[in-house]
Symmetry: C2
Subunit: 292 residues, 2 copies
């Protein structure tokens, strides 16, 4: 949402308290005709609504940290980001070791929009309201074995209010030791791999276990973001963001999960990702050994 | 999807034809036991599947041009991009006047990931299979009055196989004269504005009228992308992309359209966007005058 408009509304809503008090006070001339009463009622309704908007959109400052890394999947980041950006009074940090833009390792084939981090690990606030990790191949496999990344995530994850991921990002959280004993989800291809990391693989678009919130593959980031917005603020605000993003999904096909997709589609993707699943399992086994 | 894996599969599938022919030939020893027959059958099933993948993923080279511009909404671009990237044998051009990264005009508040164009208007192929325009505020209003952009879109739009948009991008197509007499959709806030541009405003997540394909607000880009993938290739391939992106939406709330959202949410957003709608209407009136 446009912050200028939000701010204007909040300012109007703040004003509203004053105006409402004045309207109820002695100095306001009484309306004597039905038309005036109707107009006053409409105005009152409007003012009441504005007041509700303020209650809706205000809240304590949020500090949101999103890991970015080479070889991540851009949609995994941008879906939740579209939601978080729509919240008022928040700082969003795109976190990486350095401020050099992170590039997909296969830039010519997949995501070719480099993402400039905003904040180095060293400058990241200690306490985050949200620590978020996107998924993506081949980056996830690299991150699962990157000591600097894992140490950073373990440290901020211990202190964060919500520790979260989308897609294969949960494997990175797991490799940092942040999912031991927690129910969690992942992209359907890598869901089982979570058990190697001490997590309890749990099917679901969004899986919430205490302060761990994990989303399914790629596009689950939008559902995930809205769920988190509701937890960070309130249901009505999350619904306003949903309407703003016009998130009224109507996929032209019903093939978004292995249970729903035709056999040929399942077989195609399972074979395509067999090697990845094996590599992720091996990386998880090594991570588990380091963690124990 | 990972092109290396796709290529490997395609190679395997191409090989398959050979192997299958060999298996049917005289030189292949006949299986004499039930176990061997079962194994042979499983192998045959696998090989048949691989062959089907080739039919699935191959197709003529696609040339996809996506306008990028300052003040666009990143999710509007990235949703369709996630789908287009998953197609084999395609070139994707991110198009702008220059190769300078386009930045959101309010970079500190909204999208702060600058997008580097890949191709200048001057270097864009004449014939595009897809011409795509994302939406976003305030960029849409600026683009609706940018003669260089409108002239480029009008030119390539005349020759393109599909002329497409998501969200307020349809207002830009309309300002370029590309939607006259076509049914089209837009973000719900600006849907009515299309009539000022000679289009027929039509509610819908994806509206297809001849070769014009327009999507609704922001997140409709994923549905739109899958629909277009089916038209460019085939339904099964589009379903494979859907499963890859795990697009099995399950929003935590059902508030993604004005018809479904609670009154307070509708009122909040309608008021927030009243000024934008008015500005878009004025820009559309001016564009209409120029076009007539």
């Amino acid at each position: 949402m446009d912050r200028r408009n939000f701010t204007k509304l909040s300012a109007a809503a703040s004003l509203t308290g004053l105006v409402t008090r004045t309207a109820a006070g002695e100095e306001t001339p009484r309306a004597n005709t039905a038309a005036a009463a109707s107009k006053e009622s409409a105005e009152q309704q409007h003012l009441d609504a504005m007041q509700r908007y303020a209650a809706l959109t205000e809240g304590p400052k949020l500090t949101i940290g999103m890991l970015v890394y080479p070889g991540m999947f851009l949609q995994d980041l941008v879906g939740p980001l579209a939601v978080f950006e729509s919240l008022m009074n928040r700082d969003i940090h795109l976190l990486w070791k350095t401020l050099d833009p992170v590039r997909n390792e296969k830039a010519e084939h997949t995501t070719f929009i480099p993402v400039p981090p905003t904040t180095r690990f060293a400058d990241c606030p200690d306490h985050l309201d949200v620590l978020f990790v996107p998924g993506g191949v081949p980056g996830t496999l690299t991150m699962m074995e990157d000591a600097e990344v894992l140490q950073f995530l373990a440290d901020r994850g211990r202190q964060a209010r919500f520790v979260t991921s989308v897609c294969t990002g949960s494997l990175i959280l797991g490799a940092a030791g942040l999912l031991k004993g927690y129910r969690a989800t992942s992209h359907w291809v890598t869901l089982d791999v979570l058990s190697e990391l001490g997590a309890i693989p749990t099917k679901g678009r969004i899986v919430v276990d205490r302060n761990r919130i994990t989303g399914g593959g790629v596009t689950a980031g939008i559902d995930f973001g809205l769920q988190l917005a509701a937890l960070l603020r309130n249901d009505t605000y999350a619904q306003a963001v949903q309407l703003y993003l016009e998130y009224d999904p109507a996929p032209p096909f019903d093939a978004g999960s292995p249970e729903k997709a035709p056999p040929i589609v399942n077989q195609f993707l399972s074979e395509m990702f067999a090697e990845l699943k094996d590599a992720a399992t091996q990386a998880a086994k090594r991570a588990s050994k380091r963690l124990s």
